[in-house]
């Protein structure tokens, strides 16, 4: 499975045939659309199109499905920025600064920088995939349950910086999120918890419906209460980012590429986790952390770059071992296997044309997406100009469809509506929402890896400190917790709440 220029060039030749270019473009379009619609994520998008695999040749089909996956990452930021409604967990950090920018009349630059950052990170991480896949593949294997727990624990410690000054409220919000994730079956033992005897609730709370509720529905409720005419009433200051804006983001793009790509190699570290980490890192390295949450352009570039880098990273263990790192790639793996293609070391040996054609198509797809998305910036930014009495119901409609499309269960729609109510109360009471989202995203991995680690160590928590990778993450997590608490105690340090407290 070693790299060779021959194979890569052949791959480009295959990917550039008219037919494959067409399927890549269709995939990019569908992906962008799926990303824009709240709730309908790449996994359902790919799943819906799986039957197409019976008509298309394998290379074209997988090229299209991969395009849907990374295309969705481009589109996901749109609603997050324009109307503060992240369609997926991975766009939650984007909403923090993106929406602030939009309210300042800079939706255009925010959208454009997210497309540019997606392109840069997407392409750079593809280079990583192209040249280092065999070396990096083993990275995924270095992570066992204790390492995952330590990583998730570190992820959870981001709550401290996400809640800013409202630390106690942030922790309550996190605790609520963790509790909500307990509803349903224990992922390992299948035992029912907090289901109150209802079989329906055994399916558990899906975090996508939680996000739809917390952001989309509660946003609408707030707007209805204020009987607004428009989502926000500001003159558009500029449509495109200035060169200075782009330059300001270069560091963020590079850092987020690294973070996204490496975390993307790990099964379970779906883009949802990496975007939070990238956002937090950017805030820490920034000379002006106080600008974050108030429309810092790097705060948009970082998560958007990270989620695209994560998607490329995810293809490393998928191709090398047949291990999917997230639900969308699991569906894609299913697609591969329907063609009788067995991912794993043999795939590179037996079907090099196929693998390299897909990789080459991803380079092309990224260009297509940039070309596709930049001109659309103006159109998306104008969404906010739709009168609210029309836009509001539309958002509710798409939210309900999105919630239903997760598992085709009415239960998920109810979850979204209930969390809409919870989100509304949280906003009224000044509770930050991001920690709750982060908690629901991390909860399952956190729980299963803790349970597995303690089984392996026969109950000793020392296992998290005796293994080097785990120890590094644990130390980082503890350090960030102590620092956060210390800043809090020393009272009103530079930390500020990240979300509007309306």
């Amino acid at each position: 499975m070693l790299f060779s220029w021959d194979y890569l060039l052949q791959g480009f030749a295959t990917a550039c045939t008219l037919q494959n270019l067409m399927w890549a473009t269709i995939g990019c379009l569908v992906g962008t659309l799926i990303g824009v619609l709240p709730g309908i994520g790449p996994s359902s998008g790919i799943a819906i199109l799986l039957p197409l695999t019976t008509v298309l040749p394998p290379t074209s089909a997988i090229i299209m499905m991969a395009a849907i996956y990374y295309g969705a990452m481009y589109g996901g930021s749109t609603t997050a920025i324009v109307v503060n409604i992240p369609g997926e967990a991975s766009s939650v950090p984007t909403a923090l600064d993106g929406y602030a920018m939009a309210r300042q009349g800079r939706a255009g630059p925010a959208l454009a920088i997210s497309a540019i950052s997606s392109f840069v990170a997407g392409t750079l991480s593809l280079v990583g995939l192209t040249f280092f896949a065999p070396v990096l593949a083993n990275f995924a294997l270095a992570f066992g349950p204790p390492e995952y727990f330590a990583l998730m624990f570190m992820g959870l410690s981001l709550v401290i910086s996400l809640s800013g000054r409202a630390l106690l409220k942030g922790i309550i919000s996190m605790a609520l999120g963790l509790t909500a994730s307990l509803i349903g079956q224990n992922p390992l033992t299948g035992a029912s918890r907090l289901t109150f005897g209802s079989i329906e609730m055994m399916a558990g709370i899906n975090f996508i419906s939680v996000i739809i509720g917390l952001f989309a529905i509660s946003e609408i409720l707030i707007n209805v209460e204020h009987s607004v005419k428009l989502m926000y009433d500001t003159k558009v200051r500029d449509w495109m980012p200035k060169w200075a804006d782009v330059r300001q983001c270069i560091g963020a793009m590079l850092r987020s590429t690294g973070i996204g790509f490496f975390l993307g190699l790990l099964p379970g570290c779906a883009p949802a986790v990496t975007t939070f980490v990238a956002y937090d890192v950017e805030r820490r390295v920034s000379k002006h952390p106080e600008r974050f949450g108030k429309g810092a352009i790097e705060g948009v570039a970082a998560p958007e770059g990270a989620n695209n880098a994560t998607t490329s990273g995810g293809f490393v263990p998928l191709f090398a071992f047949g291990l999917p790192t997230g639900p969308a790639l699991a569906v894609l793996l299913g697609g591969l296997m329907m063609y009788g293609l067995q991912p794993g070391p043999m795939l590179f040996k037996q079907n090099p044309q196929f693998v390299w054609a897909v990789i080459a198509s991803m380079y092309i797809g990224n260009v297509i997406l940039l070309v596709l998305n930049l001109p659309l910036v103006g159109m998306w930014a104008r969404i906010a100009l739709i009168p609210f009495p029309i836009l509001g119901p539309l958002i509710i409609l798409f939210s309900v469809i999105g919630a239903f499309s997760i598992r085709f269960m009415l239960f998920d729609v109810w979850v979204a509506l209930i969390f809409g109510g919870i989100g509304y109360l949280m906003r009224k009471l000044g509770f930050p929402i991001a920690p709750m989202v982060l908690a629901t995203v991390l909860a399952q991995m956190l729980e299963t890896s803790l349970q597995q680690s303690l089984l392996i160590s026969q109950g000793s928590p020392l296992i998290f400190f005796t293994r080097p990778i785990a120890a590094v993450f644990m130390v980082l997590a503890l350090a960030s917790i102590f620092r956060g608490v210390w800043v809090q105690v020393r009272n009103r340090g530079p930390e500020v709440p990240l979300e509007d407290e309306e």
């Binding site: 033992t189 079989i199 569906v331 793996l333 067995q342 349970q451 597995q452």
Partner: protein, 320 residues
């Protein structure tokens, strides 16, 4: 007068229709006359989905009706099977099902269906399990592994997918039969189980034959829980050869709701058996590391009853 005749005619027509419908229902209605829904109880792209899609084109041809695939995912399959148990028994809803899942889930807790409510039409595929270590492991044979476990009770970890699952049962049965003690580490599926195993984070797994076939050059199978040695792994013994009476597998089949008329079951059974015994289907399954089987309605029912007995005995005292 005219209206009277009309009314009489209509009444006669109505009654005769009702009468005819009654007699036909008592006998057999033509089946199938419309599209059939094939419910998949696991995520799209998973093995159950792939099997349904393997069946779909053949079913279309044999039954001469469109077969559509629908997903009802959740609770490790339980949500879908509960839906099946409540569906109309008219043969237009069938669902993929797994043994031992449908036996163990109702044994563990209230899941909204009972094992007897899942009426098997066919069992078409077997996925045997095997006790496996990495190719680089110090344990060369089953005996070395067991001896080590006997000396260090609970120290060796065996990974599987979920608790109250076939993997868990196989581990428990092995403990019971060998007298050794292990620590069973559950994972949320076979993909994370294999990842942790390949990374060396657990000592051994109860691996599935398809996974083991895929990672053949990286693993060493200590013993197969099969009756005969598994094709492609002729160097690895079976548990039975090692005097351990352990045969354990995950089986896939197709089921219909309770009270489905026998003639409908028979019609579906014939179709699925025809597919399961097609040489090209069998060859495909074998190359992917599965064992093609073709157990009809009666045989599957008897098999499920037998396995229920074994699991009931094994799980007594397992629940808190």
């Amino acid at each position: 007068m005219k209206t009277n005749i009309l009314v009489t005619c209509l009444a006669a027509l109505f009654f005769s229709c009702g009468f005819m419908a009654g007699t036909v229902a008592a006998q057999e209605k033509p089946y199938p006359t419309r599209q059939i829904t094939y419910m998949v109880c696991f995520d799209p792209g998973g093995q159950s989905d792939r099997e349904a899609r393997r069946h779909q084109p053949y079913l279309d041809k044999i039954l001469k009706q469109k077969v559509i695939i629908d997903y009802k995912v959740g609770g490790g399959g339980a949500l879908g099977w509960r839906e099946l148990a409540r569906s109309k028994p008219d043969g237009y809803t069938v669902a993929g099902f797994n043994v031992p899942h449908i036996i163990l889930q109702p044994l563990q807790q209230e899941v909204g269906y009972k094992t007897e409510q899942i009426i098997p039409v066919v069992l078409f595929q077997r996925t045997p399990l095997a006790l496996t270590v990495l190719a680089t492991s110090g344990f060369k044979t089953y005996q070395e592994f067991i001896d080590h476990a006997r000396k260090n009770p609970g120290k060796l970890t065996i990974g599987g997918s979920g608790t109250f699952s076939g993997y868990h049962m196989a581990t428990l049965r092995l403990e019971k039969l060998s007298g050794a003690k292990f620590t069973y580490v559950p994972f949320t599926g076979t993909a994370p189980q294999v990842t942790a195993f390949l990374g060396g984070h657990i000592d051994a797994i109860m691996g599935t034959s398809d996974d083991l076939t895929r990672y053949k050059d990286k693993v060493r199978v200590l013993a197969w829980a099969t009756e005969k040695r598994f094709p492609g792994f002729s160097d690895s013994p079976t548990f039975r050869e090692l005097k351990v009476d352990l045969v354990e597998a995950v089986d896939r089949g197709v089921a219909v709701p309770p009270k489905t008329p026998l003639y409908i079951i028979k019609k579906l059974e014939a179709a699925f058996i025809e597919i399961a015994t097609k040489p090209e289907v069998m060859a495909e399954m074998k190359s992917q590391g599965f064992m093609p089987i073709a157990m009809g309605h009666e045989e599957s029912t008897a098999y499920i009853t037998k396995m229920t007995g074994i699991y009931k005995e094994l799980t007594v005292g397992l629940k808190k």
